[in-house]
Every structure is written in C-alpha cells, then in structure tokens.
C-alpha cells in the first residue's frame, strides 16, 4: 500500500492506496506552528489498524520550506561567489555573510582568472568567527566547469560541516538564480534535516520500514537521502501534488485547466495532453527566483474561506482568509457561507451563514439570498477570469511542458478539472461562466494526496561534450571524462542515459518507472578560421514525470464510485 500526505495552508490531506483503490482518506487541520505534529497526527489516523509492513511507499509534501521562507525563519549562512565579467555580483547579495571573490570561468568553461586561496582562507576565518555553520559556493558558469567551486570547497572543507555547490543544483545557466537556489538549500538545510529525521524516527517506531519519498515542485519525488542535498526543491510541492492528482482524469489529446480550490487560495495549472506545463528555468514566484525545476502553477488569493467584504458598494473576496466559514464557527462571511445559504452545500450551522449574508445584503441594499448569489457568482467569475488571464499570458511566451518545448503552441483549454473541498459546488457555475466543460474530480478533497502518493521519482541529467576541448562532463553529477574528436551524438545519449539511470535508482526510483526521454539536444560545429575544429553537444535527459505503474485501478475504482453529482460520496 501507498501513503500520500499533503500539508496545505489550511488542511492536511492524507490517503492510503492499495492497488485496487482508495482505502482510506483523512483530513486534519494544519497547525503551521507545529507541522511535525500535523504530519504525525495525519499518519496516525491513516494507519490506525493497518499492518505497518503493508506500507510500501510514503510520499510527503509539506509547506515546511515555503513557510520558513515566507516567515523568514531561515539560518544565516555564508555565501561565496566568484563571477568575472558581467553584472556586478554584489547586486545579488543574499544576506549578511556574502562574499564576491576572485576567479572567473567563461561561457565555454575555460578559466580566465584563478581563485585566490588566501582570500578564501580569510573568509573562512571570518565566517567561523561569526558562528556560521553552513556555506554555499557559487561560480559564474560553474555548470560549464565547476573547478573553482570544487577548489573553494576543498579550501573550506575542514571548517564547515556542510557545503553546498552551485553546479549541483541545475545544468541551467542563470547565475543570480543559482546564487538564490544555493542560498535557499543552505539556509533551510538544518531545519529540513531535523524535521524529516524526526518523521523518519517516528515512523520507524511505528514499525514502518518503507522508504520516505518527498514531493518536489516539479511533481516528482526524491528520497530522504537525496533531499538532504537539495532541501529547497520541496518548496511549492503542494500545487504540484494537485496537478499530479488531476493527471489521471485528463483527456489524452486536450488542453486542460486544473483549478485546486482550497480554503485560502485557488491554484491554477495547465495540462497539455496530460503533460503539466513546466517553468523552463525554475520557480520564479515573487522576488524569489530560483533554478528549482517546477511545474508552472499560479496562486490566487480566493478560496472557499476567503474573507468577503463590501467596499464602495461592491463585493470583494479575499485575498485573505480570516478563519473558517461562519457555517463552521468562523466570524466573517465567506463564499462557503454563500453556498450554504444557496442550498448548494449542507452545513449544520446554516443560521450563522444566513446572518453573514444578511450583513452583506444590508450593505448592498438587497436580500441575503441575492447577496449570496452575487458572492458565489463573483467568486466563480474571478477564478475563471484569472485562469483565462493566465492562459493568455502563457500563450505570449514560449510554452514548455514537462516533456518538451512546444514551438508556437497555443493553449486552448477544452476541459476544466476542479480539485479541493468546495470543488463540486463550484463546478456547474464555473462551467456556465467559462463555457468550458467542467468536472470536479473524484475524491476531489484529497486528490492532491493521491497525486503525491502516485508521483514518480524523477530527476534529470545535463551532459556537455566539447570535442575541441576533449571533454564530456555532467557537472551536476560530478562526472567528467576525456573524449576523442570522434565522439558522436550516440555516445552522448548513451552516456547521459547511464548517468540518469544511476541517479534515478539512487533517488529511490523503481526500475519499472524508469521512463527516460531526451528533453534537449543541441549540436554545433565549432568553426575557427573557416574550418571545423570540433563539435559541441548538449543533451538533457529526464525521467518522465508522471504516475507510477501498477495503480491504474485506483482511478477505475474512483471513477466508478463517483456518480458525478456534487453531493457524491467521495467529496
């Protein structure tokens, strides 16, 4: 059996799946100040009366990193950067312990000026004196040649327990993002380690031996050991869980909008022929731009529990949540209350909802029922508007899915899949307003946790071969080998494939799920003085993101149990 657990802003959802279907699902409130207990209480409920040895896989998606970044509860760490020509590296400062140093590598990976060991030793002394435990080292063009990062690491090794290097995070070029990503990994490392080791110990005490997998922002998983080198990759895994939860219901040949309507926010994502859209460089939300591979998701501050107000004679919804809906003991009216009043949704405390609507109605000079109608329609309209705006925005830029770059592709959603607790109540109205076929997915309130449970272990490998320089290298994997002039395209792919398989198995992939694909391949002649001096090959391969094999029946069962009505048993 499999466990999927997704910690959300409001609720934590967890499911237990067997090959035959959904065995158990639970929902508990998230306690942002104690995520450890949130996770444990979720797992306890889920595993009640279950033989721990039956559990074969556990996938966790948490907001630990996201919260730490938002609340700025991250460790002070040392960051050392070497750059060379270009934008002044001082502009990318990450904190108080930030040191631009000598040394420069160019775009082909050739050293243009050396590292100064004395300078590094001096910085090490300063950092130690200031009590810094973890250090990140980032060089410009280190994915082309990591020698400076490695040299600086060697100079620091005896003084610091963990050193994060820029070339390990991604084969993509983007120096400022590499700095930010290494900083994030370094700064959340101790917290991440403490948290997951505690979870692991606790599960072991319950007799669960299954390996823990952690969901990443790209909708794939990695095992606990791998996560220690890339703790930042767990950021924004929640929206990725929802997307993975929707894939099983997406038609094979259409574009689909995925809307996960939660308590506080609605997350918006797009599937092109079942493949989620990808952020080509990395997560770029707000000011925190990184190289963390991520699905393209958008968040709108509008959910079932959004605070509804009247401002200047018009209704506003969100972006904040001020506790639960009045129907469930809250103090402020919400879209959920509107749905209760409209009879779309059952609640014991309908009177409170009515009170909230009456309050709004007074301010608008209308009846509570009409006010509820307006709130509900406005909420749906905002969600539809936002989704359409996002599709337009995406269509103006090159489109990348997790599988390929789609040259000149225009996204045209033909279906909307809704997830989240209030999804079934919204479906009809969203369909009416958008004119697009809309369906709340089966078990929509825990579809995200199902997505997490079934997500494949993914990873990628970037390989560079330069026959003029005589080198084939995958700096992320610390792989480098001399090659001859006659190195071919086939050699490149074969080598990259071997590196990728090894990496995937090490990260916890099952051999059955090793579906590998080439996502980038470029080949250039290096011509100097009108004759070909060599070739440059650049290849990027990945384990195809998707759902693990052997669990198709889960969807068959869920679809069968879902009679399609809003009050369907699974929602």
């Amino acid at each position: 059996m499999l466990i999927g657990l997704d910690v959300g802003g409001t609720h934590t959802d967890a499911v237990l799946l067997s090959k035959k279907g959904l065995k158990r699902k639970i929902k508990v409130l998230t306690d942002p100040s104690d995520l450890f207990n949130t996770v444990l209480s979720g797992l306890d409920l889920l595993l009640d009366n279950i033989d721990p040895l039956d559990v074969k896989r556990i996938v966790l998606s948490t907001t630990l990193t996201t919260n730490a970044v938002v609340q700025q509860r991250i460790d002070p760490v040392g960051i050392i950067v070497s750059s060379g020509p270009g934008i002044d590296p001082r502009l990318f400062r990450t904190g108080n312990h930030y040191f631009p140093v000598a040394g420069s590598i160019d775009h082909r990976g050739r050293e243009r000026s050396p590292v100064d060991p004395a300078e590094i030793r001096t910085i090490a002394k300063i950092l130690k004196k200031e009590g810094i435990k973890h250090v990140g080292v980032i060089g410009k063009f280190s994915p082309r040649n990591p020698c400076h990062e490695l040299q600086i690491q060697a100079l620091l090794a005896k003084d610091f327990s963990k050193i994060f290097l820029g070339h390990h995070v991604s084969g993509n070029l983007n120096f400022p993002r590499r700095i930010a990503t290494v900083h994030l990994n370094t700064a959340v490392y101790s917290m991440h380690k403490k948290f997951f080791h505690a979870v692991k110990r606790s599960l072991e005490q319950q007799g669960i031996k299954a390996p823990i997998q952690i969901l990443k922002a790209d909708g794939g998983t990695m095992n606990l050991e791998s996560s220690m080198d890339f703790p930042g990759q767990t950021i924004l895994s929640g929206p990725a869980a929802s997307v993975m939860g929707a894939i099983g219901y997406a038609p094979k040949d259409q574009d689909v909008l995925v809307l996960d309507i939660g308590g506080t926010t609605t997350d918006i994502a797009i599937l092109v022929k079942q493949a989620p859209l990808l952020e080509p460089v990395g997560i770029g939300r707000g000011i925190y731009k990184s190289l963390i591979r991520s699905l393209k998701t958008y968040s709108k501050g509008l959910g079932g529990d959004s605070h509804v107000r009247v401002e200047n004679g018009a209704i506003t919804i969100g972006p904040d949540r001020s506790g639960p809906a009045m129907a469930f003991g809250g103090l402020h009216p919400t879209p959920t209350d509107a749905m209760v009043v409209l009879g779309l949704m059952e609640a014991e405390n309908k009177e409170s909802s009515l009170g909230g609507m009456a309050d709004i109605a007074d301010k608008l000079g209308t009846t509570p029922l009409k006010a509820a109608q307006t709130i509900f329609q406005t909420a749906c309209a905002r969600i539809v508007e936002e989704a359409i705006k996002i599709v337009d925005r995406i269509n103006r830029k090159p489109v990348y899915t997790v599988h390929e770059f789609l040259e000149g592709y225009r996204i045209q959603p033909r279906k909307i899949l809704l997830l989240g607790g209030p999804a079934p109540y919204f479906a009809n109205e969203i369909e009416r307003q958008s004119g697009i076929e809309t369906q709340a997915v089966p078990a929509c309130s825990v579809a995200n946790a199902i997505g997490a449970a079934l997500a494949r272990t993914t990873c990628e490998v970037s390989l560079l071969a330069d026959t003029e320089l005589g080198i084939v290298a995958a700096p992320e994997e610390d792989f480098k080998e001399p090659i001859s002039k006659s190195y071919t395209e086939e050699d490149v792919i074969e080598r990259a494939y071997a590196l990728l398989s090894e990496k995937a198995l090490k990260s916890g992939s099952s051999p059955d799920d090793l579906e590998v694909e080439v996502i980038e391949f470029q080949k250039f002649n290096i011509v100097r003085k009108f004759s070909t001096q060599g070739k440059i090959f650049r290849a990027k391969l990945q384990v195809k993101p998707g759902l693990i094999k052997g669990y198709d029946q889960v969807y068959t069962q869920l679809n069968k149990n879902n009679d399609g009505t809003p009050s369907g048993a699974e929602c």
Binding site: G86, I87, D88, H107, N172, R177, K289, I536
Partner: protein
C-alpha cells in the same frame, strides 16, 4: 531584485538551424555563446526586461520594401521570416508602449539586402530594419525615422532602400570601403536627388578604437539626430568593429559599444554582423542590453581586454576628425545640394551593377526617378540578373504627391512585357503590391 530604468524588450532568435554553409561565419554557432552569457547573467529575470516571441513576417510585409525576384518564397527561408519577425515584434511592443526600448537579437542579418533582391549578398537576403520601418509607417503612423548603422561593413542594403527617401535619415559608420566589403559608403554618397543629405556615410580608417567611434557619435551623429528630429531612432547594431573580429580591422570594445548605445539612445536596436562569436559577442551584446535598459555596465569587460593595446594612433585620430568635419559640412549644405541635384518634374537615370557575393549572382540596374520637390519621387528599376530574370520594379513612396502617383502608375502600365518576366508595382500610398507576368 535588479530593475531596468528603461523598460526594455528583447527578442532572442539565434536560428540554431540556419547557416549559409557549415563553416561560414554566418552559421548556427554564431549566437550560441551570446545566448549562454545572456542566460547566465539572468537578464530575463531583471524587472523591466521582457522577452518577446518573434512574429513571422508575411510576403506582404516584405513587399512593402523589396522587389523579390522571382518572389519572396524563392529567396527566403523560415529563418529569414522569423528574424524579420523578431524586429517586427519588438517594434510593435515599443509602439504599444509595453516597452520603452527594444533589441532584436536575431540572425540571419539583413543590412546588405537592397530594394531589388535576386538572392543573398553579404550574408543577407531581406532587410530586417527596412521591413520593420515600413511596417511601423503603415500600421503605426510613424513618419520620420533615423537608422544609425554601426556595423563595421557599410550598410549598403539599407542605404539603397532609403537612397531616395528624405524622411529616413540613414547614417552608416563603417570601416573604409577601400579596405573592406562591400567597398562602398564613401563620404560623397549622400543619397538620391530627392533625398540628398539624408544618407550619410562615415568611413573610418582601420585601427579606429573606442575613442574614434565615440568622437564621431558625439561630434557628428548626435548633433545631426538632434536637428533631424526623428520620431524613432533605430540602431543596426553590428558587432564586427570589435578588436577580436576575424573579418575586420577595428579596435572597438564591449565598453565602447555600451557607451555608444548609452549616447545614441536608440528606441530599437537590431543585431547585424559580428563574427568574434566567443571573445566579443557575449560581452558586446550584454553591454548593449544593459545600456539600453539604462543599467550599470561598468563590469562588462572582455577577459582579454587591454586598453593600451587598443589605443588608436594619432594618424587615425586626425583622419576621423577630418571625415567628421566633411560630413558635418555636407549636412549643413544638404538643402543646397538637393536643389542642385535636379529640376522638379524631370526624369533622371542611373545605371548600376550589383554583385551578390553570397549567391554568386550578377545584376544590372537601370533606374529612372522623377525629380520631385514635394515627395520622395516615383521611380522604376529595370533589373536584369545572371539568373536569367529580367524584371521591372516600380516604386511609389508613402508620401507621394499626385504627380508622382500618376507617374508611377504610368511606368507600371507602360512596362513592355515582351522584355520582362515580371513587372512589380510597390504602391506605398495604398500599401499595395501588384505583379504583372508576361
């Protein structure tokens, strides 16, 4: 987060699948290292720098500028259409005020492509800047345009296209034609009789350094731009003046390019040549982007930059100063020069021979233009090429007076179709292109 003081748009179209031939300087690899540098610097993450997708230009876009023989499809590839479309996408974004400035980092280049195009010359098939400018005129109402061509080779294609247009100020700075392809662009080449003085060619001696370029910009180009008062300034930003360029003999640097861009303040820059693809382009393009965005570019320095080695000799300096004076004098006399160039209503003829080095085509032109003091003047070009094509090309300019419109229609009507395979009428007043076949 970094912020651009001027909102700047970039189109990046490196045409990684297009080359003239595998070892030609104009090949797939050309913008590879530039792309790497731009990506590594995180340029697209800067607040106020936007990436745009290139459009695809249509035959209609090309027909506003060129007479393609036998037709547009025959002399262009998909890459040309996207490259020109890159310039167009940037121009539209500037016009719609989404951005204040734009840079189309595109290839293939275009500034050697002339009005009549039988094939490729100087690695160019169609003229990206001209297609963009005529699009801006037809669809965005732009009138006066200045094109400053800072490619090391004379921008003879753009020069040819705007030879008769008094509303386009074309200034080319280039290495002296006696020492470099295409061998033209001397100071006395000032434009046709209806546009004398709005075509300015500034040949610079081999060995010109940053100092020399900036001298010409400050002492000639900027004062003339100031007086011409264009609605829009376009920079044909070739990068082959660089001290490491394999095809030329200049001593310009990345810092120099950035400073020149800062001074010129072009609304739109379009990449042209530049073949020092590793040592120059990554740094020069980065410098231009930062200068356009009005950001600090002081750390954009080539790894092997050595200012002492790049000093220009006093002999070169003197020569540049003299050329600059000559151009300034021509500019101040442009009205008199134009008046002397012909009498209103008369027809003047010019005969030319054009060699297409890229496609090895030889062309003979007989051009007849109506001298006009009210507009740019209608003209016809009788063009015969070694390909066997013989065509008549009639052009009626956008601002044409009624007499020139009538004259143009008469030229087209009277075309002797026994002599020509095809006759074309490019009527810019109607934004219409008509083809007659024999």
């Amino acid at each position: 987060m970094l912020k651009a003081s001027k909102k700047t748009g970039l189109v990046f179209f490196p045409a990684f699948d297009w080359a003239i031939d595998p070892t030609h300087p104009e090949r797939e690899e050309r913008l590879l290292y530039t792309q790497d540098q731009v990506m590594e610097e995180g340029i697209f993450d800067i607040n106020g720098i936007e990436e745009y997708k290139p459009d695809l230009v249509t035959a209609e876009d090309i027909q506003r500028v060129h007479f393609c023989v036998p037709d547009e499809a025959a002399i262009t590839t998909q890459s040309h259409l996207i490259s020109a479309g890159g310039a167009k996408a940037i121009a539209r974004a500037v016009m719609e005020k989404e951005i204040q400035r734009g840079f189309a980092l595109i290839r293939p280049p275009g500034h050697h492509a002339m009005r009549v195009a039988h094939g490729g010359r100087g690695f160019c098939h169609i003229n990206m800047e001209a297609i963009m400018v005529e699009y801006l005129r037809q669809e965005h109402g732009v009138k006066r345009v200045a094109i400053v061509d800072t490619d090391c080779h004379h921008g003879d294609g753009t020069n040819d296209i705007y030879w008769h247009d008094p509303d386009t100020l074309f200034i080319s700075l280039h290495q002296d034609g006696r020492t470099l392809y295409p061998g033209t662009g001397f100071t006395h080449e000032l434009g046709g009789p209806n546009a004398k003085g709005t075509n300015l060619n500034i040949p610079l001696p081999p060995g010109t350094s940053t100092e020399g370029y900036l001298y010409v910009i400050n002492n000639t180009v900027l004062p003339i731009l100031e007086e011409f008062k264009p609605d829009l300034i376009i920079n044909s930003a070739g990068q082959d003046n660089h001290y490491t360029d394999p095809l030329t003999n200049m001593k310009f640097s990345a810092q120099g390019y950035a400073e020149m861009t800062r001074l010129l303040k072009p609304d739109i820059a379009v990449l042209e040549g530049g073949y020092a693809i590793e040592g120059a382009l990554p740094y020069v393009n980065l410098g231009i982007i930062l200068a356009l965005a009005d950001m600090d570019f002081s750390s954009v320095v080539e790894p092997d930059y050595d200012p002492v080695r790049l000093e220009q000799t006093s002999h070169v300096t003197d020569k540049i100063k003299r050329t600059s004076d000559v151009i300034n004098r021509y500019w101040s006399q442009r009205k008199e020069l134009r008046a002397k160039a012909g009498t209103h209503g008369e027809i003047q003829q010019r005969n030319r021979e054009i060699f297409y080095d890229t496609d090895n085509i030889f062309e003979r032109q007989k051009e007849k233009i109506r001298i006009c003091r009210d507009c740019g003047g209608a003209f016809e070009i009788d063009s015969q090429a070694s390909t066997g094509n013989h065509v008549l090309c009639v052009h009626i300019p956008l601002n044409a007076c009624q007499d020139c419109i009538d004259a143009g229609h008469a030229m087209f009507r009277n075309a002797d179709m026994d002599r020509y395979n095809r006759a074309f009428l490019q009527d810019q007043t109607q934004d219409h292109y008509t083809i007659k076949q024999s």
